[in-house]
Amino acid sequence: MGTAPERIIVTVLGKDRVGIIAGVASVLAEHNVNILDISQTILQEFLAMIMIADISRCSVDLNTLKERLAAKGRELGVRIDAQHEDVFLYMHRI
């Protein structure tokens, strides 16, 4: 993998509880993924958290990273997805 920034968007949706950010951040750190931005909002009792991360130095491919995040999500009882940033940029920016 090259070093040009390659950004993904990690979304976490589910019931809020202690340790969600720590859990997601630890998976990303383990694979050498740099978190660029975090924002979150609470909709009723549900948490929606979004992280923008740079995977250009990631130690595994995106699919493996997605699987690890999804597994962490199951452990935490939330849904975690990771998608290439272009999906959102294409849809919302001209």
Binding site: I9, S39, F88, Y90
Partner: protein, 453 residues
């Protein structure tokens, strides 16, 4: 920087509202496969398809994973086989269909389109042989899709071809009677068939197309429906149109992204995004339900055609700006069995064949996935085709007919096709006969294009 609301909107569209890419279709020219020896021709066809499409499914799955957007189908469209096969010294074209089937199977695609002929002005020997072999070809394959273009705005309607297609549709259904006539679900009769349509069963790779190109078909009725439901109940129709345009823009951008990426990874040119609202049998993923959300009690009620006209136009306006190249069918699809809302409307008697025909004059595609009684005469089927061709010819648009005369079934019976083809009630057809009109044959001349009232 993207806002959290924008990101959540996209996620919601994919996870809750069935936003997906309906199909990545690889168009492949087979013109260089013609050969006097039919076996050698088939070998060239097989080799070329399996070489160019070898990575199609894999690339589709990679993109699906990386971008997190489902790509439902990966398919192949080829040069109309009549053009390729007629150079071969053989009468029966079944072997060409079987070759397409084998190639499709080898690369793992569920449908391959292009068992086709273009006969809007007349037949060549190859056209006739191809059309005659359609019933057998569809009965003995599972993935091959056939289409015949019998009319264009510039040439008129070849009524000889229309009459023959009435018989061919009926025979195709009869040969697949053990599967409720499903063969006819893979056969489309067209007016003004597009050369770059990615959607089955009518996809083929037209003669003006490059060697190989990726065309993408988008979907997303659920997204549009939800957007309309979330508007205030007193929002006027101009506001609805505005909203639909915005949603269509967003949906089409996904198609543009996926199409460009697929073309890049496959090393072929990017053709078009087909900006169609394609329903699936899943609840909520329905064009009929969009019209109902707009305020029509049941799809098919008075007002349906106007509502559909608004929807279709707004989708095109929003989509056209979102993609650099728009083509294919591009409009709202109204396949009855594939749309849960259409099925409900047909079952309740709100939606008739005649109303469906009226609807096709303002949206894309035509009479699609409609199940009619198995004892409908071939001349009546031909006349239904002729009416639909006339709508396409006069309005300068694509129309198609994909109807299934389900063997042994009567109005009110149900037919289950399963999967994306769905299920549908058999709807009644007029008992009055057009046989004498169809028997005349000949061509209906091309319509005048000025004096446009």
């Amino acid at each position: 920087m993207l806002t959290i609301q924008e990101i959540l909107e996209t996620i919601k569209m994919i996870q809750e509202e069935n936003l997906d890419i309906r199909t990545i279709t690889l168009g492949i020219s087979l013109r260089d496969c013609a050969d006097p020896d039919p076996q050698r021709c088939c070998r060239k066809i097989y080799d070329k398809i399996t070489r160019l499409a070898a990575r199609l499914v894999q690339v589709g799955e990679e993109i699906e994973q990386e971008y997190g957007i489902p790509i439902v189908n990966k398919r192949i469209a080829v040069t109309p086989i009549a053009l390729v096969a007629e150079g071969s010294e053989v009468e029966d074209y079944l072997l060409f269909a079987q070759t397409l089937e084998k190639a499709a199977q080898a690369v793992g695609v569920d449908f391959i389109g292009g068992f086709s002929a273009l006969v809007h002005k007349g037949f060549t020997r190859g056209d006739r042989l191809l059309i005659e072999s359609i019933p057998e070809a569809l009965a003995r394959t599972e993935r091959v899709c056939a289409s015949v273009n019998v009319a264009t705005t510039r040439t008129g309607i070849n009524m000889d071809a229309v009459a023959i297609m009435g018989h061919i549709v009926k025979e195709t259904a009869a040969l697949t009677a053990d599967r409720q006539g499903i063969g006819a679900a893979r056969l489309v009769v067209f007016a003004n068939a597009p050369e770059d349509n990615p959607f089955m069963a009518g996809a083929f790779h037209g003669i003006g197309e490059p060697e190989c190109a990726v065309n993408v078909g988008i979907s997303g009725p659920g997204v549009v429906k939800r957007a309309i439901e979330n508007m205030p109940p007193d929002a006027d129709l101009g506001e609805l149109a505005e909203k639909i345009k915005k949603m269509a823009f967003k949906i089409t951008r996904m198609g543009e992204l996926v199409g460009r990426e697929a073309a890049r990874r496959l090393g072929v040119s990017f053709g078009v995004v087909d900006i169609s609202l394609a329903p699936t049998p899943a609840v909520g993923d329905s064009v009929a339900e969009i019209l109902e959300a707009m305020g029509i009690e049941r799809c098919g009620a008075p007002g349906t055609t106007a509502a559909l006209a608004l929807l279709n136009d707004a989708v095109k306006k929003g989509g056209a700006m979102a993609s650099s190249y728009v083509g294919g069918l591009s409009g709202a699809f109204i396949p009855v069995s594939e749309d849960a809302g259409m099925v409900r409307a047909a079952a309740e008697g709100a939606l008739s064949l005649e109303k469906l025909e009226a609807m096709t004059s303002v949206c894309s595609v035509g009479l699609d996935m409609i199940v009619i009684p198995g004892d409908t005469p071939a001349a009546t089927i031909a006349a239904i085709i002729a009416d639909e061709m006339a709508i396409g010819m006069v309005n300068n648009k694509t129309t198609g007919v994909r109807i299934i005369p389900a063997p042994g079934k009567k109005p009110g019976d149900w037919v289950e096709f399963g999967g994306l083809l769905g299920r549908a009630p058999v709807i009644p057809v007029s008992r009055f006969s057009p046989a004498a009109f169809i028997a005349r044959g000949g061509r209906i001349p091309a319509p005048i294009q000025s004096l446009g009232n």
